[in-house]
């Protein structure tokens, strides 16, 4: 059972998604616009935000950026807009997943669970559970799920954390975007590989000293990424 904040202006969709998610065991709070959403997040932070992009007041992308700026609450975008630019803008704004309408409650639920799984408990990848691995100035504690850079704790979203944990579990091993999409995002279908790129960019900004010349998170041209110490 997770606390879901649904931001959706269309009454019918709001009611239906609320009904569907509640039935699937979520505790749903639904609001109609971005301001209410931000207020609600401050008042009582949910486990996850399901966010429509075309909402009155502050638009969805801005809301997503604001949520991301204030904390690590995961965001799943639920939008009828399926153009590349919209999807890329969503990921660039820090969304953890992008779900195109119409989507059944079951699909939304699956996405929510996948995103939340990233932040809870040890993943199956942590087979060699070293308490804290150190890669240069970067310390990754797989037990407490904390990441420190130069001693200071880095605040990562569940997706960023999971991506880092996955890549760093096999040093210098190149993973394709598709593989990362599958293992980190748990998407078995051919989803949005640029979700990976957007997440890598955000992660670099947080863990690299010079994000434009990354030491740890290296690009394997035409293929994907690898993690180096």
């Amino acid at each position: 059972m997770s606390r879901v904040l649904l931001v959706e202006d269309d009454l019918a969709v709001r009611r239906a998604v609320t009904m569907g998610l509640k039935r699937l065991g979520h505790d749903v709070e639904a609001v109609a616009d971005g301001r209410d959403a931000l207020d609600s997040i401050i008042a009582s932070p949910p486990d996850i935000v399901v966010l429509d992009l075309m909402i009155p007041g502050i638009n969805g992308i801005e809301v997503c950026k604001l949520i991301r700026a204030r904390g690590t609450v995961p965001v799943v975008i639920l939008s009828a807009r399926d153009h590349d630019i919209d999807i890329v803008a969503g990921f660039d704004a820090g969304a953890d997943d992008y779900c195109v309408k119409p989507a059944s409650a079951e699909v939304i639920d699956a996405r929510i669970r996948a995103v939340l799984r990233r932040s809870t408990g040890p993943t199956t990848l942590d087979h060699d559970a070293h308490p804290a691995e150190v890669f240069g100035d970067l310390a990754v504690d797989r037990a407490s799920l904390r990441v420190r850079k130069g001693g200071a704790e880095v605040s990562l979203t569940p997706t960023e954390l999971r991506l880092l944990l996955f890549l760093s579990s096999q040093l210098d091993h190149a993973f394709s975007r598709q593989q990362l999409l599958e293992h980190v995002w748990e998407q078995s279908y051919y989803g949005e590989v640029r979700m990976v790129d957007a997440c890598v960019t955000r992660l670099r900004a947080k863990i690299e000293t010079d994000p434009r010349h990354p030491v740890h998170l290296q690009t394997v041209r035409g293929f994907g990424y690898r993690f180096s110490a």
Partner: protein, 482 residues
Amino acid sequence: MRIRPPATTLRGRLLLSFALVSVLAVAAATGVTTLQARDVVLRESQQAAVSGLRASVQAVGPDLRLPLDRAGLRLLVSQLGPSAGAESSSSQATYAASFGDELVAPSRGPSVPTSIRREARTATSTLVQRVRVDGSTYLAVAVPVVTRTDDSATGVVVYSMTSLRSQDTVLDGIVKASATAAVPVVVAAMILALLVSTGLLRPVRRLHAAVEEMSNGRLGIQVPAVDRGELGDLARSFNQMSRDLHDERETLRQMEAKARRFAADVSHELRTPLSAMTAVAGLLADEADLLPDDIAEAATLVAEETHHLTRLVEELIEISRFDAGTAVLRLDEINLSELVGRSLTARDWTARVDLDVPHELRISVDPRRIDVIVANLVGNAVRHAGEAATIRLSARATGADLVIDVVDDGPGIPSDVRPYIFDRFVKGDPARGGRSEGSGLGLSIARENAELHGGSLDLDEHHDGGTRFVLGLPDVVVVHDD
């Protein structure tokens, strides 16, 4: 430009006509001039010859003692010649005289024609005849000598044979001069023809070029209509037609774009209500067991149809993207056998399909689109080939090209539907109560996806006992390790 026989081109015909007309005109002028000149020249020389001979006869006539013997005739001939005056020497005349059957003529020079001799024997007036002797023209003149008293014939006839060579030379000169004059005339005519044809042909060329441009799709092209005559009218008509066609195409384009936009807009507008319906459709279906029978059926129906409608709208949006040309290929390098495996696993078809796909085949494609194609082809086979049918998906690479076959041994597609199988909203199995699970857009979308890759998707028309679809993807294989 093509090379054509000159007589078939306008320019060629004009040149030919001008040349012909000028030659004819010169020939006619030359002919008339020559005839006139000849007339004048001949009359002059004839008069000179006749009057010369007559004068001689009058001079010697009174001294004649008839009858004349040979000696007398010879004397007469000798008196006729040189004394006759200056022009006789220039006209190079020879003289002869006869009395009865006796003829005295100089040994050199042309002989007197017998026809004129026969005639002159009884004549009392001067006879003139033109004769050709040894290729030269001569003027033969016969003057019968008459008695002074009663103008009766004395039997003595004097002749002169005047060469017309100099006259012929003059006439020849006239013909030659005319012919020489004809050359510049014909040349001038040809130049004129060239100028005229160039003037005439320029608008024709322009029109020709414009028509070719037009057939290449540049509707609305205009040609300058400077000519005031028929060609100008033609150019103006052409311009009008070109503008009309252009406008018409623009209108059609706008209408088509509007229609497409409308289809896309409708599909998008349907998404919001569908979102609400889809979100609770699962709930309806799940709870159907708890409802009274007929209500349960209704709930299930609504849930199922919502699902169909959702899929239809998704496919319409996909199609409208292809139509609008906004479908983008997002290439990624993937392992084909993994892709196919996932595609089948996601839809629970792994057990239904025999796979023959090389393991280490990496291809550069848009994975989502290939997944759509594979799912569509296998999905069709699963739905239409029957439970017992074998479905087989095989892939083989030739160089960088990839061919994927999806074959089943089901009943196959009815032959009357085959040609339309890739058309929108055509369903391969109309016998099954009209609507099957598919939207009727699947194959059309699959083909569009293949073509977006620069490839092709076709139905094998010659495959017996089942259905065989062939997907060809050129230039996609990256590594082939087998």
